[in-house]
C-alpha cells in the first residue's frame, strides 16, 4: 500500500522558520495540492517529503517508491529525450515500453529522438513529468507541475494524475495554479 505521512514537521531554512507543526497524511488514491505564495516553503515541503531535506522537527513516513518532478529536469542535455528518460527508467527497473508509454502520455512521442538540449521550457517540463510517469513509483511529488504547460499539456497532466490516483497511487503537488483535478487543498 502506498502511503505518505508528515507528522509535526517543521522546516527551518536560511535562518527562517518556514512552517512548523505541519501534519498531512495521504492514503492510497489520495492527492493533495499544496498552495501558497512564492517562498512560503512549498518546494522545501516537497524536498522534506522526498527525504532530500531533513526536517527541523517531526518525522516523515513513506510507504512506497518515490518519484520527484522538481525544478530541474535531471535529463542529460546531449542525449535524445528517449535515451535520457530510459537511463532513469533502467535505474527504476522499467523497460523501454514504459518509457515510450510515458512519453506518449505527455504528448512527447514525436520528440523521442530529439536531443534534450533542443527542448523548449514547456517540453522540458513535460519530459520531467514523463520521467515521473515512467518511474512506476507509487508516490508522486510534483513541484509546480503545470508551470509553462499549454492547455493541451495541462489536460494530459490531469489525465496522468487521475490515472495514477485511480491506480492507488499518492500525489503531493505544489502549485500556485489549479491543476484541473479535484484534490484536497492545503494552504501553506
Amino acid at each position: 500500500m502506498t502511503r505518505l505521512a508528515l507528522e509535526q514537521v517543521a522546516c527551518f531554512r536560511g535562518g527562517r522558520l518556514l512552517f512548523e507543526d505541519l501534519n498531512l497524511g495521504l492514503e492510497p488514491g489520495e492527492g493533495m495540492l499544496v498552495t501558497g505564495a512564492n517562498g512560503v516553503g512549498k518546494s522545501s515541503l516537497l524536498r522534506i517529503a522526498a527525504g532530500l531535506l531533513a526536517p527541523a522537527a517531526g518525522r516523515v513516513a513513506r510507504d512506497g517508491e518515490l518519484a520527484l518532478a522538481g525544478e530541474a529536469a535531471a535529463l542529460d542535455e546531449d542525449q535524445t529525450l528517449f535515451a535520457a528518460l530510459a537511463f532513469w527508467g533502467q535505474l527504476d527497473g522499467r523497460d523501454d515500453e514504459a518509457v515510450a508509454l510515458a512519453l506518449a502520455a505527455m504528448g512527447l512521442a514525436q520528440l523521442a529522438q530529439v536531443p534534450v538540449r533542443l527542448l523548449s521550457t514547456g517540453q522540458r517540463r513535460r519530459a520531467t513529468l514523463a520521467r515521473v510517469i515512467a518511474s512506476g513509483a507509487g508516490i508522486w511529488l510534483l513541484d509546480e507541475p503545470a508551470s509553462g504547460l499549454d492547455a493541451a499539456s495541462m489536460n494530459e497532466l490531469a489525465a496522468a494524475m487521475a490515472g495514477h490516483l485511480a491506480a492507488g497511487g499518492v500525489i503531493l503537488a505544489a502549485s500556485h495554479q489549479p491543476l484541473g483535478l479535484d484534490m484536497r487543498e492545503f494552504a501553506l
Binding site: 527525504g51 532530500l52 531535506l53 518515490l66 529536469a73 535531471a74 542529460d76 546531449d78 537511463f87 527504476d92
Partner: protein, 211 residues
C-alpha cells in the same frame, strides 16, 4: 547491469561528449612540447628533468576536468534523483571516481609515449614514469573528485579548485617524480589512501550541499 556500471558509463559518455575528456591529454602533450623550447636543445638536461616535468604536467592536466565533475549534476537535479532512489552518496561518488579516472588516466599514460620521445627520456625512465602514472593517477582522480564535491556549491569555484587540490597533490608529485628506491611504494600507498578516502569525503560533501 547494476547501478555502479550504469553511472560509470553515463559519466564516461558525458566526459567524452563535448570532447572535454581530450583537453587534459592535449594540455599534457602541449606542456611536453613547450618544455624543450623553454629549456633548450640540451638532450642530457632534458632527459634529466623530463620525468619531473611530465609529472607536473600530469598534475595540472588532472585539474582541467574537475570543475565539471559534480557541479553540473547537482544543477541539473541528477544528484537529487539518485538520492531519492536510495543510492548512497558514497556509492555515487565511487562511480564518479571510477569514471573520472577512466576518462583521463589511461589517456595520459598513452600520451606519455610521444611526450617521452619529445623529452628524450630513455626506456628505463619511461617505464618508471608509466608505472608511476598508473599508480598515481587514481590518487589524482580521487583528489579531483573530493575537491569537486567540496567546492560544488561555491560560486566561482574554478580558481579555488586549483588552490585546494594542488597542495594536497604534493605527496603524489614527490613520490611519483622521485627516482629513489621505494618511492613507487609510497606513491601507491598515498594513492590508495586518497582513493579509499575520496568517496567518503565527496559523499559527505554532497549530503551537506543538499541541506
Amino acid at each position: 547491469m547494476n547501478l555502479f556500471s550504469r553511472l560509470v558509463r553515463r559519466d564516461l559518455a558525458r566526459a567524452f561528449a563535448h570532447g572535454g575528456a581530450w583537453l587534459p591529454l592535449v594540455f599534457y602533450l602541449l606542456v611536453a612540447t613547450l618544455f624543450p623550447f623553454a629549456i633548450g636543445p640540451d638532450a642530457a638536461l632534458l632527459a634529466k628533468v623530463g620525468g619531473g616535468a611530465l609529472w607536473t604536467a600530469a598534475l595540472l592536466a588532472a585539474l582541467l576536468p574537475v570543475e565539471r565533475l559534480v557541479r553540473p549534476d547537482i544543477a541539473s537535479g541528477v544528484m537529487d534523483q539518485l538520492a531519492i532512489r536510495g543510492q548512497s552518496d558514497e556509492a555515487v561518488a565511487a562511480a564518479k571516481l571510477t569514471a573520472h579516472w577512466l576518462s583521463f588516466g589511461p589517456l595520459l599514460m598513452a600520451a606519455t609515449l610521444p611526450a617521452a620521445a619529445l623529452l628524450n627520456l630513455d626506456g628505463a625512465t619511461l617505464t618508471r614514469l608509466e608505472i608511476g602514472l598508473l599508480l598515481g593517477t587514481p590518487g589524482l582522480a580521487a583528489l579531483g573528485l573530493a575537491v569537486a564535491a567540496l567546492t560544488a556549491s561555491l560560486r566561482g569555484a574554478g580558481a579555488l579548485i586549483g588552490l585546494v587540490m594542488l597542495p594536497l597533490a604534493v605527496p603524489l608529485l614527490i613520490f611519483g617524480a622521485s627516482p629513489a628506491e621505494g618511492a613507487l611504494k609510497l606513491l601507491a600507498a598515498t594513492s590508495l589512501l586518497f582513493v579509499a578516502g575520496a568517496p567518503f569525503v565527496a559523499g559527505a560533501a554532497l549530503r551537506a550541499g543538499r541541506s
